[in-house]
C-alpha cells in the first residue's frame, strides 16, 4: 500500500494556561483518510490537542500545518476541519433542519442546494423525517447523529470528534462505534477522535495516540499499543495487565518473582531493572507443582466470558483470566510462554507510586 500523504502535522506544539503547561512537545502527523484516536485519562491534553487543530486554542509554541500550509493563526471559521462537540452543542433555538443547514447558510448557498444537502445528510444519519423537530425533543443518540450531520455538511477534509459517545449508554455506544467507522470509510474523511475509553479506541482506530499529562506516550496501531506497550502506563491504560518489577539478566532471559524466564526481548543490557508485563489472559493456570510459579487462589469473580482470579505467589498477586475456575484457597501453578512476556523500560519510581495511588 502506498504511503498516504500527511494531512495534518503538529510541530513542537506546547500550550500553557497561566503558567501551567498542559501540552508539551507534541509532534504528530495525521495522514489522509486515517482514523486517529487521541487516548488518555482526563487532563492528559487530548482535548486541548483537538481544540488546537480545530482552531479554538492557539498553541503557546509550535506550528500546526494543514496540507503543508501553516494554519497556526487561522481562526476556526477559516479552517477546513469541522468538529463534533462534547455533548453535541446543538443550537437549541434552531430545529434539526436549521441546525444542519447552519454551515451552508453561513456560506450563503442557494436555498434548493441547502435543502438537497441537508436531506441527504439526514438520510445518511437515518433521521429522514426529523427535520422539523426541535433538537431538545430528540434522544441522546439522535442528537448525536444530528451533531455529526451538522459537522459533515460543509464536507470537511477532517472531522474532529470530542468524546462524541460519552453521554450514551453502553449498547448505543457500541452501535454508534460501528456506524461511525462505516461512515468514515464510506466518506473517506480523516477522523480525529478523542476518548478516554480504551476499548472504543481499540475498536475503531487505525492509529492510537496515547497521551498522559501533556506528553505523547506512544503512537501506534491498536495492536502495537496493546501488544507492545512502551511503558507500564500504556500497558495499564490499554487493557488489563500484571506489571512486575524484574531484572533483565541478559538478552532473552529475565528474572522476576524469584524465577528465571525465557523471553523474546533483547537489547536492554545485562542485569538491568525492567518492568515485566503479562496480560491476564496470557497466564495459564496449571496443577500445583507444575508451571514456573506457584501460588494460592485468593479470589474468584465470574465475568461472563471468563473467570477473573487473583493468584498470590507470595511476591506478587497475579490477575488471571481463565475459562475454568479453581476454588478460593486452592494451590495452583502458573505458566506463561516466552512470547507473552513483554519487557519494558521501568517507569521512574515516583510515577509508579502516583499510578498506584490513583487506582
Amino acid at each position: 500500500m502506498a504511503e498516504r500523504p500527511q494531512l495534518i502535522k503538529l510541530e513542537d506544539v506546547s500550550k500553557q494556561y497561566d503558567g501551567a503547561e498542559v501540552l508539551s512537545d507534541i509532534n504528530l502527523y495525521i495522514r489522509k483518510n486515517e482514523f486517529v484516536t487521541l487516548l488518555g485519562p482526563s487532563g492528559c491534553g487530548k482535548t486541548t490537542t483537538l481544540r488546537i487543530i480545530g482552531g479554538f486554542e492557539h498553541p503557546t509554541t509550535g506550528r500546526v500545518l494543514f496540507d503543508g500550509q501553516d494554519i497556526t493563526g487561522l481562526p476556526p471559521y477559516k479552517r477546513r476541519v469541522n468538529t463534533v462537540f462534547q455533548k453535541y452543542a446543538l443550537f437549541p433555538h434552531l430545529n434539526v433542519f436549521e441546525n444542519i443547514a447552519f454551515g451552508l447558510k453561513v456560506a450563503k448557498r442557494p436555498k434548493d442546494e441547502i435543502k438537497a444537502r441537508v436531506e441527504k445528510l439526514l438520510t445518511l444519519v437515518n433521521l429522514k423525517e426529523y427535520g422539523r423537530r426541535s433538537v431538545e425533543s430528540l434522544s441522546g443518540g439522535q442528537q448525536q447523529r444530528i451533531a455529526i450531520a451538522r459537522a459533515l455538511v460543509n464536507e470537511p477534509e477532517v472531522l474532529l470528534l470530542d468524546e462524541p459517545l460519552g453521554a450514551l449508554d453502553l449498547k448505543l455506544r457500541q452501535e454508534m462505534q460501528l456506524e461511525l467507522k462505516r461512515m468514515q470509510q464510506r466518506l473517506g474523511i480523516t477522523f480525529i477522535y478523542v476518548t478516554h475509553d480504551q476499548e472504543e479506541a481499540l475498536t475503531m482506530s487505525d492509529i492510537i495516540v496515547v497521551m498522559r499529562e501533556g506528553y505523547i506516550q506512544q503512537i501506534g496501531t491498536p495492536k502495537d499499543v496493546y501488544d507492545e506497550p512502551k511503558s507500564a502506563f500504556v500497558a495499564n491504560f490499554v487493557g488489563e495487565s500484571n506489571i512486575i518489577r524484574g531484572t533483565m539478566l541478559k538478552d532473552f532471559l529475565v528474572s522476576f518473582c524469584g524465577a528465571e524466564f525465557q523471553c523474546v526481548d533483547k537489547g536492554f543490557g545485562r542485569n538491568v531493572p525492567v518492568d515485566v508485563l503479562i496480560r491476564p489472559e496470557d497466564l495459564q493456570v496449571v496443577e500445583e507443582g507444575q508451571g514456573m510459579l506457584k501460588g494460592t487462589v485468593r479470589s474468584v469473580l465470574f465475568k461472563g466470558v471468563h473467570y477473573e482470579m487473583i493468584i498470590d505467589t507470595g511476591e506478587f498477586s497475579f490477575k488471571v483470566h481463565a475459562t475454568t475456575m479453581q476454588p478460593e484457597g486452592a494451590g495452583v501453578g502458573l505458566s506463561v510462554i516466552p512470547f507473552n512476556i513483554h519487557i519494558m523500560r521501568p517507569m521512574p519510581v515516583e510515577l509508579v507510586e502516583e499510578e498506584e495511588a490513583g487506582e
Binding site: G54, G55, F56, P75, P76, Y77, V81, N82, T83, F85, Q86, K87, Y88, A89, L90, F91, P92, H93, N95, F102, G103, V106, A107, R132, R133, S134, E136, S137, R150, A151, V153, N154
Partner: protein, 264 residues
C-alpha cells in the same frame, strides 16, 4: 387541617400586602377629597388627570426616562455580560466585584454620590443627569439577568458556529443573542420597572424643575396627595399588569410551540 392553616396564613400575608393598594384604588374613585370617607363613586379624578400639567409632565418624564434608561442599560449591559462571560477568571472576578458595588450600595449613597459628581463637574442637574443615573443603576440588573443565560449555554455552541464557518460577528448575532434573548428581555423589563418606581436616586440627581412622578409625590406628600395621583397610579398599575400578562402569555406560547416540535 394543616393545609387549611397554611393557606389561611398565605391569604393573610397577601391581604396585608394588598389592603393599601385596594384603599388607594378605591380613593381614586371616591367623589370626595377625604381619605377615609366614601362620598360616592366618581371618575372625576381620572378626568382631572389630563388637566394637570404638573402630573402629565411628570408622567412624560417618568415614562421617557424609564424607556430610554432601560434601552441604553440593556444595550450596555448585554454587551458587558457577553464580554464578562468571555473573560478569563481573574478579570472576570474583578468585573463582577465592580458590578456588585452598586448593587450593595444603598440607594441614598448612589444618589448622593452621583449628585456630588454632577455638582463637582458643574453639570446642571435635570433630565439628562437623571437619565444617566437611571442607566447607571439599571446596568447591573441587566448583566445579572443575562449572565446566567450565558452560563446555561453549552460552552461549545459559539465554537460550533465558528467551526461551521460563521465569523464571530455572525455567531454572535445568530447563536448567542437568540439564546440569551429571554435574559435580555427580563433585564429590560426589570430596568423599566425599577426606573418607573425609583425615587431616592432621582431625588438627588434632578432639579426641582424636572420632576418625575416619585419626586412629585414626595414634594406633595406634606400638603396631602390629591386623589388625581391615585387615579394615575391605578391606571399605571393596570397598564403594567396588562403589559406583563401579555408578555407572559407570549412567552408561554413560545414555550409550547417549542415543546410541540415547532410547526410551520
Amino acid at each position: 387541617m394543616t393545609k387549611f392553616i397554611k393557606r389561611g396564613y398565605l391569604v393573610l400575608v397577601l391581604l396585608f400586602l394588598y389592603v393599601p393598594i385596594v384603599v388607594l384604588i378605591l380613593q381614586s374613585f371616591n367623589a370626595g377629597v377625604s381619605r377615609a370617607k366614601w362620598e360616592g363613586f366618581s371618575l372625576k379624578w381620572y378626568a382631572d388627570l389630563f388637566q394637570s400639567p404638573a402630573i402629565t409632565n411628570a408622567l412624560y418624564i417618568t415614562v421617557t426616562i424609564a424607556l430610554l434608561a432601560s434601552f441604553f442599560a440593556t444595550i450596555i449591559g448585554t454587551a458587558a455580560a457577553i464580554g464578562i462571560h468571555a473573560m478569563r477568571r481573574r478579570p472576570q472576578a474583578a468585573m463582577m466585584t465592580l458590578t456588585n458595588i452598586p448593587m450593595t450600595m444603598p440607594d441614598i449613597v448612589t444618589g448622593i454620590s452621583l449628585m456630588l459628581l454632577f455638582i463637582f463637574t458643574r453639570v446642571q442637574r435635570g433630565y439628562v443627569t437623571m437619565l444617566l443615573a437611571h442607566i447607571t443603576f439599571n446596568i447591573p440588573y441587566v448583566i445579572l439577568s443575562v449572565l446566567p443565560k450565558l452560563k446555561q449555554m453549552n460552552r461549545h455552541s459559539y465554537e460550533a458556529a465558528l467551526d461551521l464557518g460563521a465569523t464571530p460577528g455572525y455567531a454572535l448575532r445568530k447563536v448567542i443573542l437568540p439564546f440569551v434573548m429571554p435574559g435580555v428581555i427580563t433585564g429590560a423589563l426589570l430596568s423599566f420597572t425599577l426606573s418607573l418606581d425609583d425615587f431616592t436616586i432621582s431625588y438627588f440627581t434632578t432639579s426641582p424643575l424636572v420632576q418625575n412622578l416619585s419626586t412629585l409625590i414626595y414634594s406633595e406628600a406634606r400638603k396631602g396627595i390629591k386623589p388625581t395621583m391615585n387615579a394615575l397610579s391605578a391606571l399605571m398599575f393596570v397598564a403594567l399588569l396588562i403589559l406583563l400578562l401579555a408578555i407572559n402569555r407570549r412567552a408561554n406560547k413560545a414555550q409550547e410551540t417549542k415543546t410541540n416540535g415547532g410547526t410551520r
